[in-house]
Symmetry: C2
Subunit: 349 residues, 2 copies
DNA sequence: TTGAAAGCGCTAACAC
DNA sequence: GTGTTAGCGCTTTCAA
């Protein structure tokens, strides 16, 4: 293994000079810099991560905590993870992948061991157990043992109480409102919402409830009747859900879907029943762009900006680590793209 | 920050004793052990990862390199990643997430810096650029600069030349054979294969080509006529592909699909054309279990054992790191589950 | 069964 | 613009 000392010797300079060439923290003469860089290349030197972390108290690693379950938004998760990894690298950080499995312990472990300099949490619940560990130093009375004052973190998602936290998310409230408004403007009076699996609501994931809020208040304002039904993914579950909906509200002409794995089943079922999209019924989806354009009917949809969220999260975290940035809640504005699945409500029979 | 020295002082023992309590590398009296453990708990001590890595030359981190592109198998990737993370934790390792973006440089960087003790590579191409860096110490003439003799690694996927490498994968050749044989036994004589996107073949990803091999040799043996068409995901692409297939081989009654995002479109299109599944045509898929059971017709399929591959990869890697295991190629036997999408070929008109 | 002490490879004062 | 040096917190001989 090549060490910094060996590089220094090879280049005929001191160890610190090599270190400073690498970090750029002090000015180096043209000549010296070149000799050092040449030696580095020639010897194939790579700074030792452990030694660096020990000496500098910075690991240059960001931890990303992803949900263990895969009952929702798998492609979104993946896209976020990739965006996080890519953006992190661009800022000189590597990414440590944690699953939700360990829960709050993972936060303690990673923060306590200095494994990562900061963390990004996905799938945040409204009252998330991990949050107390992350909130800025305001410990009520004295330090809690084993809990560092303040672990720099960014949440992707919005908990109930955001004080002392930095969060990034799509504005799901506005998203919900936008969806009903679109349908209302087209003359739809009865709208059904096909939501995530019941489990998603039960664990009080913020985004699902906030979308519902937005849908409801939007419906109130535009005089639309709303019916909300959670739905497991897949064809069979969707068939049952749809039957129930049409049973309770036969006049339903608008659908808002927030469940990727219900999209295609819904379209297939509507086709089977002879309900044309968008002539008889309109469908608006909240889903990744790719799902919307690959569906059997190109879907009017609000895209989930996965990449953007991942990028934002990293950039805010890096800013925080550099002391350039404080707590902040960023809600990305939803954008509704009209495609082939929504149109004017049919005139009543 | 709590250090080992502080714990030692608190417990009234030496630093090395605390270290040995933690590592279990030498026997400690009941009494001492308990005092130390008590101090650790009381002070909320977490060993510093950097210091540990520096002193022991082991980071206890496994690097996982995932593909950057998301043109295929997203849920599979995700499932593997989660399985890797979970299994790694169970063995005391954390997981560093690398994207394919950096290519071979990532291997050099991670290996050279001692950031990770070993790596797991996904999406391996037949002639992968990263492989020369991983192959066991057999450098032809002298060491190559910057390349450690042997970076412990496990591939998920199979390159053309597996010498000096450890690999885990589904036996895609057998998978292909199994699929045609199933259809052949049911009396199908014309089978069409709907494959991955052309890009997947162009970059010579092993699994796609090996599946095709298996399909072809299976077809030869059972006297089945085979037509293979790559296909981008989505409804429109599938429509075109299907039209071409039925144009060239109107008697096609069997389909093998190896492209998740073509499955549902195919089923919808067949329905639209009045071809009943499985009465008129049979469909066999190579896809994750979840996709098969959630489809609009429950699919006869060969499952992609994502979890199992992830787990295997970690366990082999850990064994290697402990010097318990050498190079090895493990091919998991495919299992075909018969569901509702395949049945006897219709008698010829 | 335990302690003392020498590093691991690097960073960042401090000195010139 | 460059060199010297004292740690960073842990592991692991060596010695008792």
């Amino acid at each position: 293994m090549v060490t910094l000392a060996e590089v220094a010797q090879h280049a005929g300079v001191s160890a610190s000079t090599v270190s400073y060439v690498l970090s750029g923290k002090r000015s180096i003469s043209m000549n010296t810099r070149q000799r050092v860089e040449e030696s580095i290349r020639e010897l194939g030197y790579h700074p030792n991560a452990g030694a660096r972390a020990l000496a500098s108290s910075r690991s240059n690693i960001i931890a990303l905590m992803i949900p263990l379950r895969t009952d929702m938004y798998v492609p979104v998760m993946m896209e976020i993870a990739i965006a996080v990894a890519t953006t992190a690298r661009a800022h000189g950080y590597d990414v440590l992948l944690l699953t939700g499995e360990e829960g709050p312990d993972a936060v303690r472990r990673v923060a306590g061991s200095g494994l990562a300099d900061g963390m990004i949490l996905m799938d945040v619940e409204l009252e998330d157990e991990r949050l107390p560990l992350l909130r800025g130093g305001a410990a009520p009375d004295g330090a809690r043992p084993g809990v560092p004052a303040d672990q720099p973190a960014v949440l992707i998602g919005l908990p109930a109480d955001t004080s002392g936290l930095t969060c990034v998310d799509l504005d799901f409230r506005a998203t919900g409102a936008l969806c009903v408004e679109h349908l209302a403007k087209l003359g739809h009076r009865d709208v059904a919402v096909i939501g995530e699996a019941p489990a998603v609501y039960e664990r009080h994931t913020g985004f699902a409830e906030r979308t519902l809020d937005g849908l409801r208040s939007g419906a109130r304002e535009s005089g639309v009747r709303l019916l909300h039904r959670p739905c497991e993914g897949g064809y069979d579950a969707m068939a049952l859900t749809l039957a129930r909906i049409l049973d309770e509200r036969p006049d339903t002409t608008g659908f808002v879907v927030q469940n990727e794995s219900a999209v295609e089943p819904l379209l297939a079922l509507l086709r089977q029943q002879g309900r044309a999209v968008p002539e008889d019924v309109s469908v608006v989806a909240v889903c990744p762009e790719q799902v919307a354009v690959q569906a059997s009917v190109r879907l009017t949809s609000v895209a989930i900006p996965a990449q953007e969220m991942g990028r934002y999260a990293v950039e805010h975290l890096v800013a925080k680590l550099d002391g350039r940035d404080g707590d902040e809640v960023v809600l990305l504005a939803p954008e509704l793209t009209v495609r082939a699945s929504s149109g004017p409500a049919p005139s009543r029979a």
